[in-house]
């Protein structure tokens, strides 16, 4: 066993993050770690690296026990972590990043750029990756940046590589290069601990899977003996009836939003309609202009041409506030950067968009605020001991629920969801789907942007596909088909 955790328990004030978890990782295997958000995966990784010292239990690396592990020591022992946020310097070249802090020197203070570039090129060659070692990291796409990060770990002779949801920010094509790299690393005998919410890749890459739930290890399975259904059941601890809950046919004849020839912010000549009670899906590749269209509708960016009619009234919001006042809500793509005020409590996050409405003489009516926040906590089942917790202490799924609550509190008639379930666990996902159903069943309209094909097909009544800022196709539910949609998204 190259890495062995024995009876790890980690307590925080009021919370047990890990409860008596043991884990054996065999040399050379790809070991997947799955579980809902808040199941304890991050704490477990941090225990391996020494970033967190367990309250009880031991960590052994290469058969040796380390009671006082710290991140520096674990790195020296050959353990590297690829986090979701990269440790790369945008303004330096790929090669300089790979050798950051360990620059190859000519003599004295001069660094040898050429030698570093050659070494970097060697590493890339081993993995069949086409990256220019002299390119600036900031000029690379997220997918390539991640490969650079992995190459950096390889150059440090990492024996154990922990990857924390590496595919989450990637496009399908980028993810494919990632999988290839993982497979090659494995062939070279590197041990990999792979954390992911994406089931397909877990089944494709891993040898064994360990399921965590509520801080406890549920089971370690051989991937080849496991089915998707079994795995989901173990993760959630209950059977999900169906991933996409059925909803009543609630589409009315009344048009809620009408967009005519809208252009600007990278989209061109967009015309579409959404009826009351309808979920319109917006599909397309990354950069196709889906988020950009949402920004135009929500007043974040300004149009150059076209008309937008909501409830039969023409609108042209110059700021999000104006859009909110018209009855539009936008649940943004990036939960941490655009959605949450991490240092503010849950209550304050939920009330953020309606503070002026619940104020009199500039003074916030705190009772009303508490009442509204409490009602959403109950109806959306936000798991938290109290509403005064900072939102950063919640798991991803619960953060997302609190942010959606913020938007529902504005009592919108049109809700735009931009990647509503990115990076959140299966259980919270189906709750969000159920919520979308409730919204349309109560006569609101939903515009749903999603890069997950299954999700957009499962949830939408109709799908519009964007490609390079233009509408390239439109499908009714009966015609939904993954290949057709991909065809529209990629044509041209």
């Amino acid at each position: 066993m190259i890495l062995q955790l024995k009876n790890i328990t980690k307590r925080y004030p009021g919370v047990v993050a890990l409860n008596n978890v043991s884990l054996d990782v065999a040399e050379g295997e790809v070991h997947a770690l799955v579980g809902e958000n808040g199941a304890g995966k991050s704490t477990l990784i941090k225990s391996c690296t020494g970033a967190v010292i367990p309250s009880e239990g031991t960590v052994s690396i290469q058969g040796q026990e380390f009671p006082a592990l710290n991140p520096k020591l674990s790195e020296e022992l050959g353990l590297a972590v690829i986090y979701q946020e990269f440790n790369l310097v945008d303004e330096l070249s790929v090669a300089e990043n790979i050798f950051l802090g360990r620059a190859i020197r000519k003599s004295g203070l001069m660094i040898d750029k050429k030698a570093m570039a050659e070494k970097a090129a060697e590493i890339f060659e081993q993995f069949d990756i086409d990256i220019d070692p002299n390119a600036l990291v900031g000029s690379l796409t997220v997918g390539y940046q991640q490969l650079v990060e992995i190459a950096k770990a390889v150059s440090q002779n990492a024996q154990i590589l922990i990857m924390d949801e590496p595919s989450a920010p990637l496009t399908a094509a980028e993810a494919e290069s990632l999988y290839v790299m993982v497979e090659k690393l494995k062939a070279k005998g590197v041990t990999i601990i792979y954390i992911s919410h994406r089931m397909e890749e877990i089944f494709r890459l891993s040898d064994r899977i360990t399921v965590l739930r509520d801080g406890q290890k549920i089971e370690t399975l051989n991937t080849s003996d496991t089915t998707l259904d079994d795995l989901v059941k173990l993760m959630v601890g209950r059977e999900l009836k169906e991933t996409y809950p059925a909803r009543k046919d609630c589409i009315s004849d009344e048009v809620l939003l009408e967009v005519e020839n809208l252009s600007g912010n990278g989209v061109h000549d967009i015309s579409l309609q959404i009826k009351k009670g309808e979920v319109l899906g917006l599909a397309g590749l990354i950069g196709a202009g889906r988020t950009e269209l949402a920004e135009l509708l929500f007043g974040v960016k300004q149009r150059t041409a076209g008309r937008v009619v909501l409830h039969g009234r023409e609108i042209e919001p110059k700021l999000p506030r104006a859009a909110i006042d018209c009855g539009i809500a936008l649940v943004p793509e990036d939960r941490k950067k655009q959605g949450a005020l991490l240092e503010v409590d849950i209550k304050g996050n939920i009330s953020m968009a309606i503070l002026e409405r619940i104020s009199k003489f500039f003074t916030v009516n705190k009772k009303e605020e508490q009442r509204i926040a409490e009602s959403y906590r109950k109806s959306m089942r936000i798991k938290t001991p109290d509403l005064e917790q900072k939102i950063k202490n919640l798991s991803g799924g619960n953060q997302q629920k609190a942010i959606i609550a913020k938007w529902l509190a504005t009592e919108p008639t049109l809700v735009i969801f931009d990647e509503p379930t990115r990076g959140i666990d299966v259980g919270a996902k189906s709750e969000i789907y159920a919520l979308v159903n409730e919204l349309v069943e109560s006569g609101k309209a939903v515009l749903m942007i999603s890069s997950e094909m299954e999700e957009v097909m499962g949830m939408s009544d109709r799908i519009i596909v964007l490609q390079e800022g233009r509408i390239s196709g439109e499908l009714d539910r009966k015609d939904f088909d993954q290949e057709t949609i991909m065809g529209f998204a990629a044509q041209g």
């Binding site: 999000p320 950067k337 655009q338 503010v344 953020m352 002026e356 500039f362």
Partner: protein
């Protein structure tokens, strides 16, 4: 094992108490030290004197804390104090205005300059440190231009009340500071725009997407910073009874030190007025105590600079822990 865990909990509770009230513990320790080292320190007359001395710093610190909450900085407040000082004195003495009118115009002027700072920062997206540094130099120049570098004095007796008067035993500047601080607490705790300060300072993009008019919040905060600096300038003028071009020299750094000592994060998004008061009092007690102990001016400078450095270092360490 369980034991270490519970001591850890006790430790973390102690740490959080330390973080919340640490500045008052420092204040207490300082006061105990000075009362032992100097018999005059605990004298009620001396303590009231300390309160009066820090009142201008306390008044300006409220606006400055708002700016820091927003993730900005306002280096122009020292020069603003000077300008208000000179302009009010000039209006009263050279132009012969009624003191009330002169004060109102000076406050309007300082608030407008603050607004202008905010407008540039919000609309041209320039770094606040550069905008307000430039403004600091400009305003100082204007103050020199008005008076030619010479002091202006000879005000009406009634004007002296603001800086030198008492209500019972309490100096009026202290009362003004209490009102301004109370107002600051009210804004941050009770009003919606006070919440916006935290929101914009914590995550500007999320704030904007939540329907907050970020530009307007910036205008407001820098206007308030200018306005409170103006109030501090008036109090100072009345207390010294003469308009001086060095009135507000380096005041911005003193106020910055007080705010950071009081736990307002220089990276924005967190801070409380009550603790800022703690920071203000620590600086006041420190400088008063050192004078009582006959510590020279130069040594005091070294100590004040070190205090700023340590306070910012502690703030940064806090931040690193969070990350």
């Amino acid at each position: 094992m369980k034991n270490t865990d519970s001591t850890k909990t006790v430790g973390s509770v102690a740490a959080s108490i330390g973080k919340q009230y640490g500045i008052f513990i420092v204040l207490l320790v300082l006061m105990i030290f000075f009362s032992i080292a100097s018999e005059n320190f605990l004298d009620s007359h001396n303590l009231l004197n300390v309160a009066r001395q820090v009142s201008m710093m306390g008044i300006a610190a409220v606006g400055f804390a708002f700016v820091l909450l927003l993730g900005g900085i306002d280096l122009s407040i020292g020069s603003l104090i000077t300008l208000v000082n000179i302009a009010t004195a000039w209006l009263m003495v050279n132009a012969g205005w009624n003191p009330v009118l002169a004060v109102l115009v000076a406050l309007l002027l300082s608030a407008s300059i603050g607004f202008f700072n905010g407008w540039i920062i919000a609309n041209l997206q320039m770094p606040p440190i550069i905008v307000t540094l430039a403004m600091m130099i400009i305003i100082e120049g204007v103050a020199y231009l008005i008076c030619g570098g010479l002091p202006i004095y000879g005000f009406a007796k009634s004007f002296a009340v603001i800086g030198q008067g008492y209500v019972g035993p309490i100096p009026i500047p202290v009362i003004i500071m209490a009102i301004v601080m109370g107002l600051g607490m009210f804004i941050l705790r009770k009003t919606y725009f006070g919440r916006y300060f935290y929101a914009v300072g914590g995550n500007e993009e999320a704030a904007e997407l939540s329907g907050i008019n970020v530009k307007r919040v910036k205008y407001l905060v820098y206007t308030l910073s200018g306005f409170f600096a103006g109030v501090a300038g008036i109090v100072m003028l009345s207390r010294t009874n003469s308009g001086q071009v060095i009135a507000g020299k380096n005041f911005e750094f003193l106020v910055l030190t007080a705010c950071v000592l009081g736990g307002v994060s220089v990276s924005g998004g967190s801070g409380k007025i009550s603790n800022v008061l703690g920071g203000v009092l620590v600086l006041g007690v420190l400088s008063n105590g050192l004078v009582l102990l006959d510590v020279g001016d130069y040594v005091q400078k070294v100590i004040r600079g070190s205090v700023l450095l340590i306070a910012v270092a502690l703030d940064c360490i806090q931040h690193r822990k969070k990350a």
